[in-house]
Each structure stands twice: as C-alpha cells, then as structure tokens.
C-alpha cells in the first residue's frame, strides 16, 4: 500500500520536499542571497506541483493532430509560464535590493545587518 503510493505519487513527494527545503532556507539562513535562493526553490516546488497536475497517463503533447488524443492539459503549463516570469522579476528586484544593502552596510549577514539597522 505505502510502496504503491510511493511508486505512483513520487512527483508529489518531490514537490513537498522542495517546498520544505525552500521554506527552511527562507526562515533559517542568515545569508540574504541564500534566502532569495530559498525563495526560488519554494516557488519551483509550486511550479512542479502545477506541471504534475497537468499530467495524464498515456497523454500526448497538446498539439492537435489527427487521432492524436488523449492530450495532457495545456492550461497549467501556460499558467506556470506566467508564474515563472513573475518569479524571475521578483528575483531580479530582490538581488537589486541586496546589491544596494551590501553597498551601504557592507554585509549580507542578517544578524549583523539587524545590529547595524537598529542602531
């Protein structure tokens, strides 16, 4: 039973593992760049969740040809394309802010930054 679930739902476990790793890095890492990487991993987990939703056993790519069906669902792919663009923009803004912080405070360590920031 459990072995069965493991074999058929391994993609969902990969999603959960990615979400966990991403959140853990976001919360626990003191390095701001690593926090942003954690944010990316968290988002990637969500992207994979959508992609995995679209899968259909024995489905073909959603390009209509004669007698081509059944197809996998194209909708989640399109949604995730948008979400990836959003994710890239967020990463760019975050890295730009980190450059500004580093040039002003000379550190990327959150603890050091907190001490400088609240003084």
């Amino acid at each position: 039973m459990i072995l069965d679930l493991l074999q058929t739902h391994y993609n969902y476990y990969a999603v959960v593992v990615l979400l966990g790793i991403g959140l853990y890095m976001l919360v626990d890492s003191d390095n701001l760049v690593k926090k942003v990487i954690g944010m990316n991993i968290f988002q990637t987990g969500i992207f994979l969740f959508f992609i995995t939703l679209a899968f259909r056993a024995g489905g073909n790519p959603p390009v209509i040809t004669e007698g081509g069906g059944p197809y996998v669902s194209p909708l989640p792919h399109v949604l995730i394309l948008t979400a990836i663009v959003v994710g890239v923009s967020l990463t760019a803004v975050a890295l730009a802010l980190i450059i500004r912080i580093y040039s002003e405070y000379g550190t990327l360590d959150e603890e050091t930054l907190k001490q400088l920031y609240y003084d």
């Binding site: 926090k35 969740f49 959508f50 939703l53 989640p76 802010l97 980190i98 500004r100 912080i101």
Partner: protein, 499 residues
Amino acid sequence: MIEQLPVLLVVVPIVGGAVPLVASLVSDRAGWPIATLTLAVHTALAGWLAWSVGTGGTIDYAVGDFAIPYGIELVVDGLSAAVVLLISVVALGLLAYARRAGPRSNAFYSQYLLLVTGLSGMAVTGDVFNLYVFLEITGLAAYGLVASGREASAAVAALKYLIIGTVGASLYLLGVGYLLAVTGTLNMADLAGKLAAIGYGSPLVLTAFALMVGGLTVKVALFPLHTWQPDAYANAPDTVSAFISALVSTVAAYALVRVLFSVFTVDFLTAVPVARWTLVGLACVSIVAGSALAVSQTNVQRMLAYSSVSQFGLVVAGFAIATPTAVVGATIHLLGHAVMKGGLFAATGVIERETGASTVGGYAGLGSRVPVGAASFAGLALAMVGVPPAIGFVGKWYIVVGAVRAEIWPVVVVLLASTLLTLAYFAKLVERLYFAEPTIYEGDDDAGAAPVADGGESPVSAGMLAVVVGAAVLAVALVAAVPTLEQTLLETLPPLLDQ
C-alpha cells in the same frame, strides 16, 4: 465604449506607465504631467464605470472574446466599482502631494502607474489566477516604491517586504493549484458552482481555502503576519507611505473578500464553521494586538502602521460575520480607512517637513506651529477613532450592529474595546499636539529647525496641504455616499441576499 471600460482601467495606466521611461530620453521632468494626465483619464473612466454599475448592475467583460469559463473574465459589481473609484481618486490626489514631496524621477512615476495597474487589475478581475498575477504586479511595484527612499534602511525594509510578500503570494498560488486540481477551472463564478457540487467538506477544498486565505492575510497584514508592514511604511518616502498605506492592504483585503464571497461563498462559511471561526478569531487577535502594539510605539509612522493591523482586523471580522449589515459596514470601513490612513500618513509627512518632528514626544505643542497639518491630523485621528459624523463611526456602527444581530458577543466586546484602544493612542497624540508645552523647539520659531528643501523653496507646497485637508474633508463627506453604496452592494452581491 461602455463595454470596454473594465479592461481600459488596466490598459490605461500600464500604457501610461511606460511613457515616462521613454520620455526620460527627452526630459527629466516629464513624469509628473504624464502621470497626472493618465490618472485623470483613469479617474474619469472609473467614475463612469461606477455610475454604470450603480444604475445598470454588474458588468462582465470577456478578455479577447474567449468563451467565459476558459478565457479570463473581468467582472465589476458594486464592491469592485467602489474599490476602483477609490484607487483612482487616491492615486490622482496623491500626485499633488508627490510633486513637492516625492522622489521626482521619471522611474518613480512609472512605478507609481504600474502600482495603479496592479491594484485596478486586482479590483476588476473575475479569475483566481489573474488575481495572482495582478497581486504580484502590485507587489513588485510596491517593493520598488518602498526602496525608492533615500536612506539605505528603505532597501532593507523593501527586501523584508519582498520576501514575506512573496511567500504570501506563493501560498495563494498553491491554493489556486488545489482549486484547479479539484474543479479544472479558474473562473470565480464557475468555481463557486463547481465547489458547491463537489461538497465543501472535501480535504482538497479545505486545503485550498486555508492556503488562499492564509496567503492573502499576509498581504492584508493581519496580526502574526504583519511584521513586514511597520518597517515598510516607516522607511518609505512620505508619498509612498501614504499611497501604499491607503491602497495596497486595502485592495489585498478586497481580494480576500472576493475569494470568500465569489469563490467559496457564504454557504461555505456556513457549512464549515471552523473556517469562519478561525477567520473571526484571527481578526479579533489582530484588532487587540495591533492596538496594543500601536499604543507602545514612539515613532508616529510606526504607530499608524500598527493601527492598520488593528483596523484591518475590524474589516476582516465584518466580512467573516457575513451578514448583509456586517458586510456593508466592513466595506464602508475598508474604503473609509483607506482615505483616513492615507491622509494621516500625508499629514505626518507635512508635520515632519515643517518641524522635523517624527516621534510622539516630538509632537508636543506643534498645534500652533503647523496649524493646517496638525488640525487635519487631529481631525483624521478622531475620525479613525469613530467620532460621529465621520465615516469611521458609520463603518464601525454597521459592523457592531451586524455582530449584535448575529449574536456573536465576543466580537461585539472586542470591537467596542478596540475603539477604546484606538482612542488611547490617537488621543495621546492629539493631546500632545494641542495641550502639551513645546519641548525641544521652544523659542526657535523660524530659526532653522525646519529642514530646508533643495533650491530654497518651502518644504511644504499648497498641493500637499490640499491633499491633507482634502482627506480630512472626505472622511466626513463620504458619509453622504453610504446609502448609495449600501444599495448597490445589496443589489450586486447576490450571495448575501440568500440569507
């Protein structure tokens, strides 16, 4: 023309937002006139749309003519029309403030218009994924605007806001994924029907609700999830704090309401009491904790930020009670809070520019030195406490009556207690302004305590004062619009009538 209005509300500011960047090739000062022109058109369109919705009922728009459950739908009912009108008016009004106070680069005005695009999009969309996209556009523009402050602490605040805000939006997206998995659709109206057919008890539906509402409460800044807000509001330039405190959380709260009423519907809240009570509980904790934190602040802008945490608790409590009276009250308080809180932040900017005072102690005796700014601040503060005839009173009154009629006594107690706590921190400031002896600035009336702006011009322009006074007047004048709003809401939010 009329049927294109919803999409024009999104198209106009996004096109207008690209123009200042191009115009920087020619002139460095082109941003302000372009933004004003764009937002004047936007306001006219929003006014026309609100009038059409008020007279003719809900307006639907199928983007690109794709058949509705598959394509993106824009829906404007009474609630969205009121929110869109609020966005336009506040954004246009604050431009008068930004001309002297704000960062003046063309890039700033581009971001400003981008933020208006995101907010308008969130208000008119009828599609849960489209809502996510506009939520992130709003977020991106807001992070950039917060970071546009001169000091580096603004960048730290913006990065904190970005990380927490992204987690909130990502949780919402995960919730959308669950809904897509259960129903195969993203259209709000379609979802409402399909969720009812599937049954509200399904674990997937419950998880989707928890993720979407949890994600949005981060953006609304309810109590345990509010930590980004005080830093962001206090470190941003004055124009930006006034703008985002008035609109960003407000529209996030609107999105929360859309998810509650248009996707999950009141029936879901009735069928799954634990969802409703969790939301009411979170709101009550937010009301009390936000007020308590506000009382303990020394910096006025941080105090106002914590006050928002408490006021949004009030709004969410009203919506979670979900009786027609409470929903009308929560809507009034949502709109009224935007005007009052934006005005308060604008007034703190005026006072700080005139005198350099930014702490509760520093406000002592400033009433006579900054007469217009201080009077408006005091007026808006009293309106926020809920002194009649201000809009703050009307909103709270409806929410309390709604809670009494629904016989939810703990909420009634918390609502009344929150008014006392609000009075505690605002009365302290008003008392300092008018009845305390001036402390640090004594005998130095025009001898340079005030920071002098570049080029020797006065740090406060007539436009800035007009915005502050206008907000104070609007806080009372809005009461006249309450009957119309109530009627439109009751007509166009059909799930409420089923009770």
